[in-house]
């Protein structure tokens, strides 16, 4: 039984260490004449269980403030929406924004709707994006595709205006009737074009429109800006059309994206924009790691100098605590931000505290003249009360700040939440290491 337990512990420890391995760290290993390179990486899971594929990697996730990227907040103008339609409208805005962002090719974007009183917002996190004005334009545009025909034949004759101005009559065909838009290239000139495939209803409508406008121009407008006005050669009944214009490939792509993703049901306005360059975050991470290591070293040194052998045990417990917490951060995964790191540092302080509390209690029991065995037992028993109460209140605070049910009257901001999450994980882990692991270590090494 004891043997099985030992193997189990070794397995768990191995797993934790494996998860904690640095990413892409290479070491040259000279082996005789040959030289091998050992590259360390945390585990990567890619398995099929039944029909579901599980992919999981255990790398550290950094928040925008550390990794660089853009954080955008849009306010939704809900004045024109009936209250019973509000939720639908918001969901659809969210979906459209998400589609547009995905088309922009960002990895791991985070899009959330936030409510605060009667104000509704959409926050968009785009890691690794530095040219934000493009993204803002793409997300915020209302891109409404419309087709217009000439009001009447006489209008053209009567005035001298360019013929595009005569295209004033709405045909009723809009971007909603488009099933798919994509970029194609003209077979002769190589010019990029946007090809449209209409839905069934759109095809019918488009057929009717082209039928009555043979030999006349048909205007294609985006947000009431004329894009092109080709002359209809013949009735098109198959439900396909091509928008030509002097597009660059980029422009054609954006137009296709805009038509595909459809118009936003309600207007949105950019109210907050934060861009962190990648170099700043890198610097901060490097410095924080150095500072963390030096700080931790000083703490360990202090504990060992002051508490002697018990201090060594506490140091071991603290290192184990750090490894376990880090493994949990990587497993969940917790997105590490600057405030999250602060929460973690505070929890390190509290983890040390549990150890100090236990040691002081043991010393006290020893002073009373108890045997070491009994002193350890009593010391732990007495210390548990204080550790439990102190940590439960901390967990309580962390829980409220994390706002797990996303109540609108509590903070919904990543910053405060990141702090609460790492603090809670840290404190919960320290309860475990402080009580279970320190006790085992004392039993093994101190007797």
């Amino acid at each position: 039984m004891k043997f099985i337990k030992l193997i189990f512990i070794i397995l768990i420890a191995g797993l934790i260490l494996w998860i904690d391995l640095p990413e892409n760290q290479s070491f040259p290993i000279p082996l005789g004449k040959e030289k091998y390179t050992l590259t360390l990486n945390p585990p990567k899971l890619d398995v099929n269980i039944g029909s579901t594929r599980i992919i999981k990697d255990f790398t550290t996730r950094y928040g925008l403030d550390l990794r660089g990227g853009s954080h955008l907040v849009f306010e939704v103008d809900t004045r024109k929406v009936k209250s019973e339609d509000l939720q639908d409208a918001l969901n659809s805005v969210r979906d459209i924004v998400e589609r547009r962002v995905n088309l922009f090719g960002v990895s791991e974007p985070v899009i959330q709707t936030l409510q605060s009183g009667t104000v509704h917002r959409i926050s968009v996190d785009l890691p690794g994006i530095s040219d934000v004005s493009e993204a803002v334009k793409l997300i915020g545009q209302t891109a409404q595709l419309t087709f217009k025909e000439q009001a009447s034949a006489e209008a053209k004759v009567a005035t001298d205006t360019p013929y595009i101005m005569t295209l004033t009559k709405e045909t009723g065909l809009t971007g909603k009737d488009v099933k798919k838009a994509s970029v194609v290239f003209d077979q002769q000139t190589g010019q990029p074009q946007v090809s449209l495939t209409f839905s069934d209803q759109g095809s019918k409508l488009f057929g009717e429109i082209t039928q009555r406008n043979v030999g006349k121009p048909l205007g294609i407008f985006i947000d009431n800006i004329p894009i092109s006005a080709p002359t209809v050669q013949q009735a098109i009944l198959e439900g396909n059309a091509v928008i030509t214009g002097n597009f660059s490939i980029e422009e054609a792509k954006q137009l296709a994206i805009a038509i595909n993703s459809g118009a936003l049901p309600v207007p949105i306005k950019l109210i907050e924009e934060r861009n962190i360059g990648p170099s700043l975050g890198e610097m901060e991470i490097k410095k924080s790691v150095v500072a963390g290591v030096v700080g931790l070293g000083m703490v360990l040194l202090f504990m060992i100098l002051y508490y002697g052998r018990l201090g060594v045990i506490a140091s071991m417990a603290l290192v184990i605590y750090g490894l376990i917490s880090f493994a949990i951060f990587r497993t969940i995964p917790v997105v590490l931000t600057l405030s999250g790191i602060a929460g973690f540092i505070l929890s390190i302080g509290m983890a040390v505290d549990s150890n100090i509390l236990i040691f002081e209690r043991i010393k006290e029991e020893l002073r009373k003249g108890n045997d070491l065995d009994i002193a350890i037992k009593l010391g732990f028993g007495r210390a548990i009360d204080a550790i439990k109460d102190a940590n439960i209140t901390t967990l309580l605070v962390a829980f409220i700040l994390f706002n797990p049910l996303n109540w609108e009257f509590l903070p919904q901001f990543g910053l405060v939440r990141g702090f609460a999450l790492t603090l809670a994980i840290g404190v919960a882990t320290s309860l475990f290491t402080g009580i279970v692991i320190t006790k085992r270590l004392i039993e093994i090494f101190y007797k």
């Binding site: 700043l280 500072a291 509390l357 209140t393 605070v397 405060v416 603090l423």
Partner: protein, 288 residues
């Protein structure tokens, strides 16, 4: 055993003085708010040392930027201005690149509308209020007395006041800004404060329930004497971590860590010297 409680007037005076200075500073100078709270734009670029700021000013004027401040600190050029559109920021970056050369790198650019900060504060206050009520309820049960909870909360409010007060001084003299990180630091302080207080109260509870001693003064002193070393040791470890972060950590979190440091120190101080005297006072009142 040391008679800590004999000097309670002195502790009261020290706390009153520090809080007083803080409140004076808040009313006299207030705070320097970050764009998180008042809205606006922050631009930060990496440049060569000793760049000519006059050139930068010209570019900003040309783009009709309402500049609030321009600073160069080593290789970092920071510009604070009224809210800019993304197009404006992009135009400025392009022109700066033209003038200051290709070394230029964008460290960060942030634009915030003015409404968000107020909301953060409001919501944080609501969250803190709920947290306080939660702590009151939990401690009343755990310690079987409302007095313990009340004393812990008073100490927590004391620490809160000290941190906001001293931060106002930092804001006035060292350009520290009130931002969302500062709000986080306040929350940390409050949670640490209660954590630290509970450890001493646990000792007092133990002597109280043992019932071998009727004099509150006496067993509170005894508890203080016994927990002082652990209190100091524990805070020392946190202070070590924070000092390392201040001295070696990144510049963006310098004042955040400093606020945490102040919070840790006052949180440690308030447990024996604010929370305990108040608890003793409350317990005595109950008896008489």
């Amino acid at each position: 055993m040391v008679n800590f409680l004999k000097y309670r007037r002195l502790y009261f005076l020290i706390s009153l003085m520090v809080i007083g200075i803080g409140i004076f500073s808040i009313t006299r100078w207030g705070y320097r708010y970050s764009i998180d709270f008042v809205g606006g734009t922050n631009l930060e670029y990496q440049v060569k040392k000793g760049e000519d700021i006059a050139e930068v000013k010209k570019i900003l004027e040309k783009n009709k930027v309402e500049t609030i401040s321009i600073n160069q600190n080593g290789m970092t050029l920071s510009i604070r201005a009224k809210a800019l559109t993304p197009e404006q920021s992009a135009a400025i970056e392009k022109e700066l690149r033209g003038t200051l050369g290709p070394y230029l790198a964008v460290l960060r650019s942030e634009t915030v509308g003015p409404t968000l900060g107020e909301e953060t504060v409001k919501k944080t206050i609501v969250a803190s209020a709920i947290a306080i009520v939660g702590i009151l309820i939990y401690m009343s049960f755990a310690f079987k007395s409302l007095n313990f909870a009340l004393a812990a909360i008073v100490a927590m409010v004391h620490d809160f006041l000290i941190v906001v007060g001293i931060y106002s001084l930092l804001s006035h003299f060292f350009r520290a800004e009130v931002d969302t990180l500062f709000v986080t630091a306040l929350l940390t302080t409050m949670s640490f404060s209660v954590h630290d207080t509970i450890v001493i109260f646990d000792k007092i509870r133990e002597y109280k329930s043992a019932g071998m001693d009727d004099d509150v003064n006496h067993y509170a002193n005894k508890a203080l004497t016994e927990t002082l070393v652990r209190s100091l040791n524990n805070s020392m470890t946190i202070i070590f971590m924070l000092l390392a972060l201040i001295l070696l950590g990144g510049s963006t979190i310098k004042f955040f860590i400093l606020a945490l440091l102040i919070g840790t120190i006052t949180g440690t101080y308030s447990s024996p010297f604010v929370a305990t005297p108040i608890l003793v006072w409350l317990e005595k009142r109950k008896k008489s």
